[in-house]
Subunit: 175 residues, 2 copies
């Protein structure tokens, strides 16, 4: 599977706390390696993901950066293919075959006012449906397309518990 | 394409306002017909979706119901296949071929404490990755799997503007 790092633009980390928590859950559950938020360290958000890792198995690393454009440039220099998710971009289904060939991919999640430089830095400006959207859902579908569904079978190392899928009800077992 | 109605359980409509707004955007952008929230009418939430419909084209209908289990039962009686999304269920990839055969599908989005009766009512209890997840992302992936990606090309009727996808930058045109 490809190594994927997600960069989340936007300085409203606290105001967007719930959306950011969802992004952490998605990036982890769907097999990303790292999620970098813009801004200074926000302990509660990092710890919410670490707590899930501790219980459910080692997955995502979360960190914060004051120089988020610098992070994206550094990843590009290291050979990461840069995907910028924007409702104005080309459909993921049209470009995913090319994108999938890259072993290292950085996905940038924008917002309403993304500076022009990100559109330029990106190897691909990619949309999911060219409609107003949820960045949480857009990230999920793009990951699902890149990994071709294989991410749903990710094995999480360590952790204390896991689910045994069942037709009705709930079954959680210790690892 | 299948007719899909989404039911959102949970009485914290205002506290979960941002998550619910995301659910509205996803259900609309990915071609659902209706989204029913549990509880009494919350005008701001309904209007936020209607505003998107007005600008970007007719899509999702939003309504609220005080008797949400009754809504699910009514849909089942009308022949809808009931899918309950839960982290404890069977993987979507394992069941999607069967699910896809149904022309009318109701997707129930739960939360932390879903009453047992929903597990029983459901034709399928379905998970996305059997890991703690975002219900926004889980809904997106399940819709994408059921529609086989065709939902990304949905044509929205009426509306005032649309996007012309481009490699770099933004292009919005009047309809």
């Amino acid at each position: 599977m490809q190594e994927i790092i997600v960069i989340r633009l936007g300085e409203r980390i606290i105001r967007d706390y719930r959306v950011n928590t969802h992004l952490g859950l998605v990036a982890r559950a769907l097999g990303c390696k790292e999620l970098i938020f813009q801004g200074s360290e926000y302990k509660e958000l990092r710890e919410s993901v670490e707590k899930v890792n501790e219980h459910w198995g080692q997955g995502l690393k979360v960190r914060f950066s004051e120089s988020i454009y610098g992070e994206a440039k550094k990843l590009k220099a290291k050979g990461f293919c840069i995907i910028h998710l924007t409702m104005y971009g080309k459909q993921i289904t049209e470009k995913v075959k090319e994108i999938r060939k890259n072993k290292k991919i950085c996905i940038i999640l924008g917002g309403e006012k993304v500076p022009r430089e990100y559109y330029e830095l990106a190897d691909y400006n990619i949309s999911v449906a060219n409609q107003p959207h949820s960045e949480i859902a857009a990230l999920a579908i793009v990951l699902h397309e890149i990994f071709e569904g294989k991410e749903l079978a990710t094995k999480f190392k360590k952790g204390k518990i896991k689910i045994e899928p069942c037709e009705k009800g709930k079954k959680v077992v210790s690892k």
